[in-house]
Symmetry: C2
Subunit: 212 residues, 2 copies
């Protein structure tokens, strides 16, 4: 969906509420920033998440104290941002960041029982596919210590800013100043084994081929 | 500063309020998540920032409507997170993320005049050193369209989680399951020139050597 801003720019910042666009951004990362209100103050904490259909599962342990303190029905904002590059313009004013950002508003529901277990499976498999069946499964006690929130994607939107700066067509385009994009990418390094790892345990294929 | 949790773990999650620790995390990134309260709901938006001494300058244009709507004295939470790797444990429960996270709470002040100009210089020079003197300076009109917030670092803290998983010493250490860290790193790609760039303008050295 185009915003009013889109029509004014050659390389627009795209805004969309299309579920497919929202899903594409959410599925490209696994760390979100979870915002809650605590005693009238905003609190923003990083945590992991995974999308399953039109639901977002959010690992809520880090914010569970705040969410409980406010009772049920506490609104949250979950924001996921991927930084793709720095946009170098002719003028300081037109510098910007190329990014993909999804924002989800809603009142989450804390999961229990089989729903919680399935959400944890989604979280683990999203971040490291193949790991759920490889690692030891959670015990009842471990499950009880974990908070997983489910949030509807009904009130979600994305913004995507991409491409070169937009000051090339105006008077600044005459300046002898370089303009373009300095791209950024996130890539995996070489896996580091736990120094206390018992001998003879080799890196399994699903971890050797892991990419974020 | 050690938290109670630190003493329980071999490779602890470090918490600190030491200004040097806060500065080290803040100076390692340039995109933050700015949290504000808007009509009782949390709103979390990504934006750029730069530290100068014990002050954080935050590019506030994206949130300026919300900040103005709430009048002056609106509290914010600025959170900066660097994701360093995925911690692979023997048990699902002990999986985690290695990260560095800084959180700053406070009531920001919108800057004007020379203060705003100097803060913008800090923002640009932090993200792309050498760029402030290279690009065209902001006009009065452009300055008026830009919101820059100043936030004291008085109420700031960091948490750093690093190292291997901590289940190697317990009963799970006997499992024939690989454990360790899958590191992540962010690196620059090859600069992409604006297709509308005039001929004969070469990439200057301060952009060619840029790293995030």
């Amino acid at each position: 969906m185009a915003t009013s801003r889109t029509r004014l720019r050659r390389f627009p910042e795209h805004g969309s509420h299309d579920p497919a666009d929202v899903a594409a951004v959410l599925d490209a990362a696994f760390v979100c920033h979870l915002g809650v209100v605590r005693d009238g103050w905003p609190m923003v904490v990083p945590t992991t998440y995974a999308r399953s259909g039109d639901t977002l599962f959010v690992h809520g342990s880090v914010a569970s104290q705040s969410l409980r303190a406010g009772g049920s029905g506490q609104p949250v904002c979950v924001t996921v941002t991927l930084v793709d590059g720095v946009v170098i313009a002719r003028s300081v004013f037109n510098h910007s960041i190329n990014y993909r950002c999804a924002m989800v508003y809603g009142v989450p529901r804390a999961l229990d029982g089989d729903e919680k277990l399935e959400a944890l499976r989604c979280l683990v498999e999203r971040i490291v596919p193949g790991q759920w069946g490889y690692a030891r499964q959670p015990s009842e006690r471990e499950l009880a210590q974990t908070t997983v929130l489910a949030l509807s994607l009904e009130e979600a939107s994305v913004k995507i800013s991409e491409g070169p700066p937009d000051d090339g067509q105006g008077p600044d385009g005459e300046l002898a100043v370089w303009a373009g994009v300095l791209p950024l990418r996130t890539s995996p390094g070489t896996p580091v084994a736990d120094p206390s790892l018992a001998g003879g345990i080799t890196l399994p294929a699903h971890l050797a081929g892991w990419r974020p």
